[in-house]
Amino acid sequence: MNERNEIRAFVEELLRRKGDTAPFADSDSLILTGRLESIDAVDIVMFLENRFAVDFADLGFDQTEIDSVDLIAALVDRPKPAPAKK
């Protein structure tokens, strides 16, 4: 499964848990339109941290950057800052 499919599967699962089984496109807004709540963004943050090692403490958190599958995939693809040398 590639990254985008994995992200999409996770978002689908989040929506399904809320009883939302309506179809959505990868570009559809999910949080800002109210389909997912702010608290659901917490699940997305933890998923991205654990699965793709995204560190929001470094990046700075912006809800609009995880508002759709496309945006999340772009965030994951973004080059990560090099780890500090010891």
Partner: protein, 382 residues
Amino acid sequence: MVAAHAAAGFARIPEFLGIVLPFLLLCGALMWLSAKYPKSVVGRRPLLVLMAICAALLTIACYAPLIGFARFAMWAFFDTFCLYLWFLAYAMSDCATAHGDGPLLQAGTLRPFWGSTSVPFPKGASHWRTIEAKNPEDLAVNMVKGVKLIAWCLLLSFVNTYYTRLVHERLSIPAASDCIHAFQLGHPLAWHLNWLSWPDDLMLELLSISIWGHTFIATCRMAGFRALRNTYAPLSSRTIAEYWNRYYFYFKELLVDMFFYPTFVRCFKKSPRLRLFFATFVAASVGNTLFHLTKALHSAVSFGIFNTIRGFQPYFFYSVLLALGIGLSQLRHRRPPQPRGWFRDRIVAPACVLGFYCFVHVFEMSSPLTGLRYLAFLLRGR
């Protein structure tokens, strides 16, 4: 005409030069700095910077040897800054992003024409961009939704009028504040009136927030933005956290954006449950108190800084109770509660949630000690 202008303020050049212009320059400078240096503290931690400026302005206003117009201008400037603080926080955050708009466009989102409190309705410019109508069909749909919401708002206004007449005039149920006041004076009102006043107060607050919130959002929708409602069916909430989300959505969003996420992405990353609880606690207690404190800091002109801050101790206690309730509710119902039958879901659970909010509301309106004594009176009946 001249008198009317003078009463409205800023009819004279010194007032414009001393208050309005410096404020505009400060707003412009902060947004420009955020856009120019997004990796600096101004771009990454706008709220921290705004709070530091707020503290500096308050200190100058309170302790600088200013008299006459200079003193007036300083306090007016400070009060204006506090009124725009949360708008600026959103604008600066947006300026610091790669796709953010420039300061001039951001200025259009500060206190929009459809109205707002100190809370931006809806959130900052990045949010506006997302919910803006993309084509004529979108615009038409948004406008119709706005009209529907204003019709609902009108209906609620009628309900509010008749409810108030029925409960306060016919049934003579007093306001909760009157009950607390009478209790403090040592002459408590009848026990059943005390009990009835709290759900009544909550109901009136719900009606009031729904009416003004819907008015803002309906107008915003008619302007072409697909904004979510500020209050959405709070009486159907099955958990404390759900009610908090449905009661005053944009205030909750402000706390989430400014306090919850920054805490969540930095603290206790190894322990998911503690991390969630702590971030919720910080947002609902510290953030909540700080928000209300910034709205009241102008009273430092009469009472001084320390007395004004000390006056917020009871509110902080209330917000700690509230934060504990919301935090624990969130941990307990990490997943949406499973259906447990109509009666439990539609009657018992919402009644328990409203009971909790009535309970904390006592502490919102009184000091912790008075609140505890009053609750003991409610339970004992004497």
